[in-house]
Structure formats: C-alpha cells, structure tokens
Symmetry: C2
Subunit: 168 residues, 2 copies
C-alpha cells in the first residue's frame, strides 16, 4: 500500500502498489444502545480485546446497508442476548483518533430478561449505584450513562454531542 | 476485485485479486447542517451530480479523523460560504440503499451573510413559504426541514430518526 495523489481529488489516498486500486478510507460508524428496564441499565462485560473484561454499553460497527437503529438492536442481541425497543438517538460521540463516530440510541428492554450473548463474558442490569464506573471499557459509554442518570429524574431526554477526551 | 471468505471473519469481503489485500467496506457518514438565521433557513443549489441544479441542506461525506460537527461546519463553508454555530444533533437519517447514514445538525448562521461556495451554483436564505420544495435534491433535507418548521413555533427542538423512503 502506498499513499499518492489521485486525479480529480483534493486529498492523497491509499492505493495498492500492485493493482493500482484506490483504497478509500472513511470514518467508521459505531452504533450502540443505552437500554434500561425500570431503574436499571444494561451493561455487558467484553469477551474480546480491546478492553476485554471491562464493562460497556452494547455497541459495535454498523454493517453495510444496515440502518443505524437496527445495528444497535443487533449488537445488543449479540452482546447481551436481549431484545430492545429504540426510543430515540441519544448521543453522538466522536473518537477522531480511532476514526470513529458513535451513535448511541436510548432504548427500553422489551421483557427485562438478560440472557447474555456470545460476544460477552456476562451481562446484567445495574442501578446507578451498582455501575462499575472504574471498570468501564470506553468513555463513550460513561459519557452516555452520566447524561442518562442526570436526565432520568425529569423524564425528559435530550440529545448529546461529545468528543474523546472531553469531560465525561 | 473479487468477493471471498476471509479467515476469522463471519462475512464475505471484497479482496484485490492481484495483491490479496482485503478491502473492507463500511457505511459512510454524511454530515450536514440545517442552519437558520431569523425566520429563514440556508439552502444551496448543487453544482455537481447527482441532482445537479437541485437544492439541498449543505452536507457531504465526513472526512477521516474529522469530528462530525466539524464536518458539518466545513461542508456549509464549502457549499454556502458562511460560518455556523452548531446547536445540537438534529436528524439521523438512514439511506441503506446508498450505504449511508446522515447526521444533520441544527445550527445558527454566525452573521447572516451567505457568500455561496465553490460546490454550489447559488446559496440563499429561505422562509418556509419560499423553500423550493419540489426542487429539493434529497429527501434527507426535506425530512429535516419539515421537522424544523414543525418544531420552530415552540422553540423546543428534539431529535429525529428517519429512513428513506419513509414518509418525509
């Protein structure tokens, strides 16, 4: 792979030095769901690196041709083995160093039953006091959870914009 | 380019048949800003295909390592030649057929002066009645504009989730 100029383009791009194909790169979309049931939120403990063994709001890469909210529902099933109902987009969180933009939805568990999923060591429901804040995998989750518990008493959820490493 | 299985992956991927490199594809993020000034919103007439000559809320592909809101500010400058201040994320709009997810921000013009930009034939400020609804380039813009004018009388802006070809 080489980096070179491309005709008609204003930026240098990655190109394959044997076949000449341009490998366009773009920021990746990570979709997730901050899901709640009564006064608890859903977290999963990661079974894979990076941050294996740390807790997270279920999230993962959006797949080709997938709707953002469908990706959040799929990731929640894969990580926590539970069905959710999407309420609204809740957090846009930039991770420019990783070339990622997170879209976290606010969601409700459909039946409150958490079975865990194949991508997690365990999953569970936590009150604000029970959350293992010091064992969270990523700041994107902490950012969303802090805002959720701040807004929950009013019952009015807005939308939030953040960037790592802003104050979480 | 060929499509083939990749070790350790659950999906088939595009691969280069001469160099063997895997060309991962992902949904692309389109960022834009629905920007207002007093009772008017900012629109630009596209100078390039697709939909050349049709009107749009300034928007374009998020660049590598760019924050979503910075992309919306950049695109608004490139298309309309004006500076904006981001207020909040406003619309998440899926375009699965095009493998795109739009993030439209709500924004204010900083000085109300629209100079036009190199990517547009012209740009201007429009009241709801003045908008050329039948000459809009993309439904993502119409979806955002309809919700803006519906919410504006209350002064309370929420966040919206949509998918083409849902009702706009």
């Amino acid at each position: 792979m080489v980096i070179r100029d491309v005709d008609g383009d204003t930026k240098q791009r990655f190109a394959c030095d044997s076949c000449g194909n341009i490998h366009y790169t773009n920021p990746k979309i990570v979709v997730g769901a901050l899901s709640y049931w009564e006064d608890k939120v859903l977290l999963s403990k990661r079974a894979i690196e990076p941050r294996k063994g740390f807790w997270n709001v279920p999230a993962g890469y959006l797949e080709d041709f997938e709707k953002a909210e469908d990706g959040a529902i799929r990731e929640t099933w894969e990580e926590a083995g539970t069905d959710i109902e999407i309420i609204q987009p809740y957090v846009i969180y930039n991770l420019p160093q990783a070339n990622q933009v997170y879209i976290h939805f606010l969601a409700k568990l459909k039946d409150g039953i958490v079975r865990n999923g194949e991508e997690s060591l365990e999953s569970g429901l936590f009150t604000e006091e029970e959350i293992p804040w010091k064992e969270m995998a990523f700041t994107s989750s902490t950012f969303a959870l802090r805002r959720f518990f701040r807004e929950r008493p009013s019952g009015i959820f807005t939308v939030h914009l953040g960037t790592f490493p802003d104050k979480i």
